[in-house]
Symmetry: C2
Subunit: 285 residues, 2 copies
Amino acid sequence: MLQEDQWFTEICEEGGSAFSLELKSKLHEERTPFQRIEIFDTQTFGHLMIIGGCTMVSQRENFIYHEMMSHPALFTHNRPENVVIIGGGDCGTLREVLQHAEVRKATQIEIDERVTRLAERYFPELCTSNHDPRAEFFFVDGIRWMQEAEADSLDIIIIDSTDPVGPAEGLFTEAFYEDCYRALRSGGIIVQQSESPLYHLELIKGMHQSMRSAGFDSSRTMQFSQCIYPTGWWSCTLAGKDCDLETFREADCNRRDFVTRYYNAAIHRAAGVLPEFVQVALKAT
Amino acid sequence: MLQEDQWFTEICEEGGSAFSLELKSKLHEERTPFQRIEIFDTQTFGHLMIIGGCTMVSQRENFIYHEMMSHPALFTHNRPENVVIIGGGDCGTLREVLQHAEVRKATQIEIDERVTRLAERYFPELCTSNHDPRAEFFFVDGIRWMQEAEADSLDIIIIDSTDPVGPAEGLFTEAFYEDCYRALRSGGIIVQQSESPLYHLELIKGMHQSMRSAGFDSSRTMQFSQCIYPTGWWSCTLAGKDCDLETFREADCNRRDFVTRYYNAAIHRAAGVLPEFVQVALKAT
């Protein structure tokens, strides 16, 4: 039996499952205009950020998610100079993006400034690049920002959002993908977190369909393990504008001058290999 | 808050995490001479078998584990005719092994006959090959059985056991691997479930060391998602006796005449690709 004051539990209603982490203490709690944010210190996962009752990021395993949301897309793009992150308030994805020397500008559009302020305080290791002169922050609605973005101006859009309910719901729509498509230069890529292959296969199918309908000529799902999210099995889905997503700058990847803990060239290829049941489902789209 | 009568929860003490499944009802409970077994009907995972408080097998996702414990080893071996399964009482691995037409004999050594009897009742789909004339069952201690096994008689040994505590502890020792090595013919392979890459990296390292010390000239870990086990990220580790584990019978795999839901040739290659931190840890062994 899990004592409520000693464990944080996220119930995944539609999955009929729950995941819990053992706590040391609650460090912070607040209700922002957008959502409720809690920060815990855990027994074995370091600091843990909860948004709207869902685990967002822990110090122990966030490296997997942040590396997989950034490096596959950035090493697939020919020359990623102008990168936009929608969401990503904990700044971990931004940090990975700025490891790429080709990047000249990384703009983070997080609707809730408090996520970033709390990350700076409780996840300082994710925020080490926040003062990089190439980084720019806007705390506004990413959907509206993208509607107003200059056409043919961006190389990569990383949609690092919460689940497709609440503030993030509009980020999983064809209308949003159309705005992204318009804002991307030729050769551009979007990459979006796309939930669990076991629980959310229909969502992933729908994302491929919507991305293709919005104009993208290629789309591809990559998978990885992420134990604090439902099923511990997570994915991101990429879509390309005049861009082959099946190849990547492997030589550049192998001679990268920064440290990764999850990603490497072999993982890049392997993450794009999908289990038989996922392949069959996506082929039917 | 999870109501105890509505959820089954497995706490992973050393991980500081827990995984829970929502229940419909308890179908069975007994204490055998070896362990306590419970069977539940869950809301979304079908029937669920618990041994010693740990989730063993559910109807929803066991296909991943059973396919990964069998097909990579069987398609790596040149001609797997004589296969032994240590543990594997739910019979799901046996069923996958017997899909291979080359297999002439599959012997299952499960210490606790009740596991198999309960699987026949509550997981009948896993037991569809139990009456295959090539299948033979012994309900005895696998460690002793392997000590007495004829030398140079087996092609593949699958160690499909519970965690390395209690009855299964002796299955993770160099002494047991030495007995396996002796019992294998040249070209033979052992494959063993090897826990979570995130939580049990030291165990995996130790397995490689022990397998090599026992005489095996090659060893290799493969990973896959398995959401009912701690971290939802699981692995198996193979070791070969005069056998190259890096190649496999890919053409045979592609023209297999049975259905898989997780495994395919690309997954075979991808599952053997390890994240940077795992690679670094195993290189140091």
